[in-house]
Subunit: 400 residues, 2 copies
């Protein structure tokens, strides 16, 4: 097991807990929000800025990196951490969500998914085994099984079929990872005196590869908003025993209350001592609500994408900063915020930058929004450590 | 005089000198390269990154800020330093160069220039007096007189006419600044007991305005590549006695050797104890060559614009980083460079970012190129302080 998960505090009245996720690239304090670094970069942020924000783990999209620059190039260059210059933890998704949600969707078969590149229209095939191989080439600390995520709403039959297929694919992914891991251990035996010395280049690549421990593999629970199907999906995965469990197929259009309920129901089906990751969620409110329901990990493009569109999160609610009323507003984005952006720049300046299409506008709003999300998670965690989560929870609920 | 210029070292065989320019926003070590912050931002850089790079002064374009967000808004918000969150020195141009070089050129009259906004086509008028007023609203430390810059090549008659007009405009700019400065000093007399108390808002704006000292005004020598016209232009300006002198109308298409010769000839016409600013120049080689010819200050979009196009400056010459041959290149942009970009990121990664159109690509190449320029100026200055400029000069000449 590459991933030790330690629970350090639990709320007495809700499912909320604080933990430590020990990865080969550092300890991640949970609950945690993972910024999305689609193409190996969190849009507009330098890695130094991410470190300053306190980011301990980020998410990268296998689909995008597989197509460009290509996972083989990243493998040759020593993996994604080295490629990006990012020494902390990385989680990669399986690529399945992009393949199925981008309009280019080809065909889902028992074996895997055919899809077309959004870049050049070329045809590609992604199977559960292939998704593992590609993610191993990228070298993330946590990788995901390929799953089928159906749209909302879907028929009971379609969701059930996806649950079954996701379960079979999860098994195949796990087998593939075990097979590769045992091959790797075998090949790491000291070479016999007869074997030729590796060339310096091979040696360098070999050393890099073998220095990357096998990643932790997470299974993904599907089942839409149907409790029975969620249970069936979870039970199938639990038999396979994953190092962590994700909740997929939520926040895809279902009512918010339904999402919270299904998240809570599903989290309770999962083992206490494994991390639980709610994929693609969500708003600042969602973070608190879903921590209360037992979730440890989140990712979402919302803070970064909204930032580029000029929508910033503040203690007073969302601010659409391009609005004319901010043209002469000397106050910071959020008067209650202590991020590097709010300590230095005014709303009027940031509005000017966005209106003028200047890169710095998107840079500053992104930095602020990520700080808002990470700071929120930090406060949630602190409240758990001090036994004050209920108080924090009700304070957030009372916010605008 | 708001601007004390102190010469701290002079080369014995060339016109090169090292100095200290004491501005209300800090000391600027010369020779200096000023990054261009067109719309109140050096594209892609945060102000903190500029500080880390060691930028002591930057240039902002009056034309762009006048049109958007508007100089009156910036005045109300306490001036450009405050608006941008930039505590170090700023130089603004007069706006004339953009007005005359953008295709929108209206009409040059004795009184000033009519032009159309590139944003919405609206008509505007810029006179020497107006250029001073707008720059005072922006609140820069160093401001420029409105000049007429003719294209290369132009007839002797056209250049001569521009020299004469530039001279008359310089006189009008100087008068305008003196008139405003004496008005300001008068209005800063303690209020009489009869005068009504200012409203809190007026008071705040008033305090900010009066806390900004009158800027230093630089005159601009024109005259194309004609020595006699350069002399005539310089002599006219010297009679008016400016706090610094700029060389305009160079690097506009004339042969490089001609540019160097005219820069040298013109610099020799100017007083030793005033800073000399060569506008819009240039390449890394130009910086050394023109320091050798007596120039103290430079600005150019080259490091920042080239960066966004994927062209980076290195100790080995220019590198077009999008080139396929860098796809698997693990070395930094410049192996001899110690900037934050070269310490952390590879050519392969930066190439990937630029090919994928990711903001971080432009951010990193900009940071590196600015470091290259600023580092070069630092080395030039060090060589002057240690009496080793000739050696440095010949080493740079031998570079690829």
């Amino acid at each position: 097991m590459g991933l030790r998960f330690e629970i350090v505090a639990e709320d007495t009245t809700t499912g909320a807990r604080a933990g430590l996720l020990h990865t080969p690239h550092g300890v991640v304090e949970t609950p945690v929000f993972m910024p999305v670094g689609t193409a190996g970069t969190v849009k507009g942020m330098t890695q130094a800025q991410l470190e300053e924000l306190g980011v301990q783990i980020l998410l990268a999209n296998t689909y995008h990196l597989y197509l460009r620059p290509g996972h083989e190039i990243i493998r040759e260059l020593g993996g994604l951490h080295r490629f990006m210059g990012w020494p902390r933890a990385i989680l990669t998704d399986s690529g399945g969500f992009q393949v199925m949600s981008l309009k280019s969707l080809g065909r889902v078969t028992e074996d895997g998914v055919w899809f077309k590149s959004h870049l050049d229209g070329s045809s590609h095939f992604l199977s559960p085994e292939r998704a593992v191989e590609v993610q191993l080439a990228l070298g993330a600390d946590i990788i995901m099984t390929l799953d089928e995520c159906v749209e909302y709403p879907s028929s009971h039959e379609a969701i059930h079929r996806a649950v079954k297929l996701t379960g079979r694919w999860a098994g195949r992914a796990k087998e593939k990872l075990s097979a590769i891991s045992s091959q790797r251990s075998a090949s790491e035996e000291p070479p016999s005196p007869q074997s030729p010395a590796p060339s310096p280049q091979q040696s360098a690549i070999g050393n890099r590869q073998s220095s990357i421990p096998a990643p932790a593999l997470f299974g993904i629970v599907q089942g839409g908003v149907d409790r029975d199907l969620r249970r069936e999906s979870a039970e199938g995965l639990l038999e396979l025993d994953f190092e962590g469990y994700a909740l997929g197929g939520l926040s895809v259009g279902e009512p918010k209350a339904e999402m919270y309920e299904v998240a809570e129901y599903t989290a309770r089906l999962l083992p206490r001592n494994r991390p639980r990751y709610l994929m693609g969620v969500g708003t600042p409110e969602d973070l608190v609500e879903c921590v209360a329901r037992g979730i440890d990990m989140f990712d979402c493009v919302m803070p970064t994408r909204n930032a580029r569109n000029g929508c910033v999160f503040t203690s007073q609610g969302k601010v659409i900063i391009k609005n004319t009323k901010y043209a002469r507003d000397e106050s910071p984005l959020d008067p209650a915020c202590e991020c590097p952006v709010c300590r230095r720049y005014s709303r009027s300046y940031i509005r000017h930058l966005l209106v003028a299409g200047e890169m710095l506008g998107a840079i500053l709003t992104t930095q602020h929004n990520l700080h808002f999300y990470i700071d929120r998670m930090r406060k949630i965690r602190q409240s758990l450590l001090f036994g004050a989560f209920a108080e924090f929870h009700s304070r957030v609920r009372a916010e605008p």
